[in-house]
Symmetry: C2
Subunit: 208 residues, 2 copies
């Protein structure tokens, strides 16, 4: 198909497609004449992934290029490819105050669930910072609550892996990890509020 058809099929404007081609995010199509190139379904899939990275993940173009190079490198195993994709969208809120209690909280949760990750995983620093901020506010979660949250995170990740397991290629797996992680955070937050309200009604309405 021509670039105009690619735009129609993907919903991405022609000018944006040309920008992605110039930046090397989207591979060039097969040249059919000096002014024309032919694109195929692989280009549509790649455009979907770029949109997910840029629009949903909010990544800068340079980071998108980096993630795509891991997707395209068959020497990078699926686990590492997914890792690079998710690492790219994981920011650190920045630690403040003492990290000792936060460190102990996090270590407890890791042991409870048997989690093992790379020492430089950005999510470790992220979790530590949030816990430190909670303690700074005089509001440590306490063991029972922290365990419940860790188990919740583990169950959510089980769902994430189930979704990735249904995909058939690397591009789709990366897209699923990305959309599922970013939009999944927002969905989990909303579902948690629904569950809070339902459980609170059961517990406190009966008492009043």
């Amino acid at each position: 198909m021509r670039v105009s058809d690619l735009s129609r099929s993907s919903g991405v404007p022609v000018a944006t497609i040309k920008y992605y081609l110039r930046e090397g995010l989207l591979p060039r199509g097969e040249t059919t004449s000096p002014n024309q190139a032919r694109y195929d379904d692989a280009h549509i899939r790649r455009l979907r992934l770029i949109r997910a990275l840029v629009e949903v993940g909010g990544l800068p173009i340079a980071t998108v290029r980096e993630v795509l190079s891991a997707v395209d490198d068959p020497a990078v195993g699926l686990h590492d490819m997914l890792g690079r994709t998710v690492y790219a969208i994981t920011g650190d809120v920045g630690a403040s105050g003492s990290l000792d209690e936060a460190e102990a909280d996090l270590a407890g949760a890791m042991v409870h669930l048997g989690w093992q990750v790379e020492k430089d995983a950005p999510a470790l620093a992220g979790a530590r910072s949030v816990l430190a901020r909670m303690h700074e506010l005089g509001w440590g979660p306490g063991e029972e609550t922290l365990r419940a949250w860790a188990e919740a995170a583990d169950r959510a990740a089980e769902g994430d892996l189930a979704a990735i397991g249904r995909t058939t290629d690397r591009e789709e797996a990366a897209e699923t990890a990305l959309v599922g992680t970013v939009l999944g955070d927002a969905l989990l937050a909303a579902l948690r509020r629904i569950a809070q309200e339902s459980r609170s009604a059961q517990r406190y309405r009966a008492e009043s």
Copy 2:
């Protein structure tokens, strides 16, 4: 204690305390002379709650006043007070595209967990919007993943209620609901990435 001691104990600057007094968020202290008032522990607790609402929840002053009026009104039951607090921090990302599939997904999750909430709960609209956006991207979560996420949210909410159950007064309960919900979202997101990495390593490293 004097306003200067209240500032030291709470970590809130004197100018900010005076602003909260003028805006009616913080009750006036007991007048001890024409230019002085005496404050007590109740003022420290109230300042902690205001900080949580403003700094952690990101709420505008008018909304803080509204939440505090529910906290202060003994006629408002604990469930409704917590509800108003959490409703105030729950935004809607705005629906886009068709809501039919999203509606069916959400209904399925509600039935699966037996959740019952008010029809106008902001989190319902929030969950629906995120699901609609997922479907728009051609990425519906699928039943297995959605169930896992709903169960994760339910387990997280169980932890939330456990934390609230440990509190001894309304002010503390509201603060716990608020800090636990807002910072808890960030913590759950980080823990989920840790769990993803750990589970992905188990699953895909063995295969490669």
